[in-house]
């Protein structure tokens, strides 16, 4: 009787990439729910569109790339990576953007950014963020058609209205997207970050800006949270912490990212309190938490070593802060992520850990030096 030959190790902890992806998708759901609660159906519709497009594109490219491996294709198709990309992009898009924005965006993400570079694991850039940046640069008007939180709109925006607005540009009652974006006060709404930036540019202080209805909210008006956005970010934070607890993502990147943002905002606040928003404002507006826990932690495009992840996170925090305050765009998470993706291989190259049994002397010498220093202090 011949036995079955297999290579060691024979045991496995039975984790799988697809399971990891599923876990991330579950973790992102609270944020999606918060988004739905405050901003309506827009993003849900975009996510659905994106998922459909993503799976179609993935299937086409996979069948073009692989030869007579139908089983393999279905496995790769549902490994969750394309799904996750679609969901992340759907969350990022303005709720009332036309339908083709998400279709073009996801097709670009899957076909060009992911599959043309070799598919899962081989893409140098985060597909969702690369697609977002592409859309932002190519279609600036559609990509800034932000919808204010439902409470601030005087038109009732139900599911059908949102759906028709996305597909035709008008609600069933005949309101245009432009009209939908007009607030109760008759002003066209932008995101809080955008508003803050514009107002600061006009010479207002931060305090004057957050008096605006967009910022006044039930959590704490004094702190200047952006209405709707703060809950969304808190939900993403919750999902991120869940992933960290599950060890599905590395803790180094988000922690270092948030700390870096904290340090930057504190420095700026201490220099010019009137011209700088608070740390919590930075943390809880825009795509901060989503970027910290779901985008930057993408293992494929991030750094792999512990030190590398810390560096990448800190660099991303600095870039986000700089783009938000001095850059041309109101939010900079997508750009920061892409810039960090570019540096990741280099950072990995220079942050290789010391292998067991190598350079022991250098370690020892530092230890002895420390000891010598201690002794010197004692004396």
């Amino acid at each position: 009787m011949a036995f079955w030959i297999a290579s060691s190790p024979h045991n496995h902890n039975q984790t799988a990439t697809s399971a990891l992806m599923r876990l991330v998708i579950y973790a992102v759901l609270p944020g999606v729910f918060a988004q739905w609660y405050f901003f309506g159906w827009g993003n849900i519709i975009h996510i659905a569109l994106a998922i459909t497009t993503a799976l179609t594109c993935e299937f086409i490219v996979l069948s073009l790339r692989s030869k007579n491996k139908t089983q393999n294709i279905s496995k790769q198709l549902f490994d969750g990576s394309a799904l996750l990309t679609a969901i992340l992009l759907g969350i990022c898009l303005p709720a009332l953007a036309p339908w083709w924005i998400s279709v073009i965006g996801v097709a670009f993400a899957i076909v060009v950014v992911k599959q043309l570079y070799g598919g899962l694991g081989n893409n140098p850039f985060n597909p969702a963020m690369a697609a977002y940046v592409m859309l932002l640069i190519s279609f600036p008007i559609q990509m800034t058609s932000w919808q204010p939180p439902l409470d601030l709109i005087n038109i009732d925006l139900g599911f059908t209205n949102t759906l028709t607005a996305i597909f035709t540009g008008f609600t069933s009652d005949g309101y245009s997207v432009e009209q939908l974006r007009t607030s109760i006060d008759g002003f066209t709404m932008a995101t809080p970050l955008d508003t803050l930036k514009t107002n600061l540019g006009l010479g207002f202080t931060v305090f004057e800006t957050i008096e605006n209805s967009m910022f006044s909210n039930n959590l704490s008006s004094g702190l200047g949270f952006a209405f709707g956005w703060e809950w969304m970010n808190i939900a993403f934070l919750g999902g991120g912490l869940f992933l960290m607890a599950k060890k599905a993502i590395a803790w180094q990147t988000p922690i270092s990212f948030l700390l870096s943002l904290l340090v930057c905002s504190i420095i700026a606040y201490s220099i010019s309190p009137d011209g700088s928003a608070s740390t919590l404002f930075h943390w809880l507006t825009g795509g901060c938490m989503l970027g910290a826990f779901f985008i930057l932690t993408d293992p494929v495009t991030g750094a792999t070593s512990v030190k590398g992840r810390l560096i990448i996170g800190a660099l991303a925090g600095l870039l986000v802060y700089l783009i938000r305050t001095v850059g041309g765009y109101p939010d900079g998470v997508a750009f920061a992520v892409l810039l960090c993706n570019m540096t990741a291989p280099l950072i990995d190259q220079y942050t290789r850990p010391r292998t067991y049994g190598h350079n022991i002397d250098s370690v020892k010498s530092t230890i002895t030096q420390e000891k010598a220093n201690e002794k010197g202090e004692v004396k």
Binding site: M1, A2, F3, W4, I5, A6, S7, S8, P9, H10, N11, H12, N13, Q14, T15, A16, T17, A19, L20, K75, Q76, D79, S81, G119, L120, G121, N122, A250, P299, V300, G302, T304, S305, R352, P353, R354, T355, Y356, G357, H358, I360
Partner: protein
Amino acid sequence: MESIIERILQNKFWNFHGGIHPPEQKTLTSGKPIKQLPLPKQLILPLQQHIGRQGDLLVKVGDKVLKGQALTQSSNPMAVPVHAPTSGTISAIRKSAIAHPSGLSELCIFIDVDGDDTWKTREICEDFTKLNKQKIIQKIADAGIAGMGGAGFPTHIKVNTKPEINFLIINAAECEPYITADDLLMCEQSEAIIDGIKILEQLLNPAFILIGIEDNKPRAIKALQHATKNIEKISVCVLPTKYPTGGEKQLIKILTGKEVKSGTLPIHSGIVVQNVATCFAISDAVINDIPLIRRVVTVTGQAVSKPQNVWALLGTPVNHLLEHTGFVTEHDSSKANPPVTSPPVIMGGPLMGFSILNEFVPIVKTSNCILAPSRAEMPSAFDNNSSEVECIRCGQCADVCPSQLLPQELQWSAKAKDHQQLNKLNLFDCIDCGACAYVCPSKIPLVQYYRIAKAEIRQQQQLDLKAEKAKSRFEARKLRLEKDKNAREEKHKKAAAARKIAMSKRSADGGSASSAVAAALARVKAKKKAKSNDELSVFSIEKAESSSVLSVSSDEVTDEKSQVKAAIARAKAKRLAKKDDVSTLKVANKDSEEKEKTIKTVKTVDDKKAKIAAAVAKAKAKAKKEQQPEQSLPSSNEKEVKATSTKTDDKKARIAAAVAKAKAKAKAKKTQEKDQLAVMSNEAHAPFKSSNEESE
């Protein structure tokens, strides 16, 4: 050192990077005692069961062997012998599948067991403390003990060390899931193990002895603590359970905080690590004179109905163990997809063990576990790494790597066969623990990739070495050929030059000015040569003459008158000698005339007068003879004159002789000068000959 001990006594230990916590599954077997199995019908003993070389065979087919009898002997320090685990007959010595990941076949001794289990004669040592070091090491070497933890390094080499040993670490961690062989051994044989440790202490004289044991073996810990409570030097270190704590380097790091420098052995840092089962084998060998013929093997997994630890004789085929533990195969291959012919049976643990080829693979010195998992229990053991997907760089492998390598980068380089980069990433510091592959969500068989890459690099190194040798050999040959060629060319050149000179010399005879100078030089050389040649030839003549002179003088002593006769005889001899010389013929004639005259005078004149006259005549005759082209004549003359002068008392006669001598010399000189010129012209061709000779 002191701080390390302080920490250990406080039960504070260091940590190594990474590590995993796979399901332990040790309770399957840890509660049951070690079972004695009935003797198998046949034993299959591979000649090589360890790292190093196989020993030389001592037995042949048909031999009857006794239990404990050596079957091979070690001719090399890296070879350890194997022994007959029980009595029986050797039925075959041939290649058979051995316990090897690749299912290799090696030379094995097949023993048909007779069932009597008859021991060879043993010498039981009552007190090992009385044995000296060499004796103990010899006993260990003869018992065929190799490290029983897994690698199988010959123990007698490990314990035979010069450098000072700070720590003797006994590895009782047994960190791999399922395996409880060492655990049970410690529970049941703690006294023998401590004896083994004491023997090691005697050999190595370490400053401290640390027993590293994971905290999932409470019974074994208690047994060891009980057995060592009176020994201050030994401390039982209870370590947190984490795979791979039992890795040699990892254990050293945990216990001492030191790292073993890459590429060196722990012994270079003053540390020796021995497996706890090896300690038991050492005590058995030294005290009871039992060579390494059996070991504890954990037979476990959900595919066996009665998992248990057993005492297995080395060479026991795996099927014997499986039979006695109730191995059940899942033979519903119709349900399996893809259809599996048979389940895997793993020798070793689930993380570092290897699946064996068939049920006849024997237990060897390093086999600590036979694991037969069910499909539900260990699905990845059945699918043969077919579910591999792309790496997503999650870095979990790097997080768990105990050597702090970057498994994902190693994997890329291994797939790309970038050996240079693999070396840069320290591939050879990988200990094959399998932690990276265990956690990999993409189910990449990382260790398999590294093994292949390591084998390829080793092969490449061997090829490089071979190529290097061939290159140096080729270069040496090229150099030699070059040298030979140069030498030949040089010779040809010289010969050509000589020919050229010879040609120009011939043309110089024709009247060329430059060749005239050369000819003159050549002549001088030739002259010198001729001189020496002549001297030689003349010397022989001289000898002949002087001998005749001597005979003459002896005659003179007896009869003075006979001197005249002698002179005549001499003259005659000389004349004969120069007969062929045409130019001297006349002189010879004159001589003979003169001599006849002197004979007449001798007859008339009295003693003294006659003598003088004879001498004068002689001198005259010689002077004439000396006109011939011979340089050595003066010397022969001198001798003659001496001969005569010794015989004549008269001073006048002497004077006359001297006068005659001087005259003769003067004449000889003149003839010499003339002759030299003649020789020069005669032997003008000689120098070319001599130059040719030189070049050859």
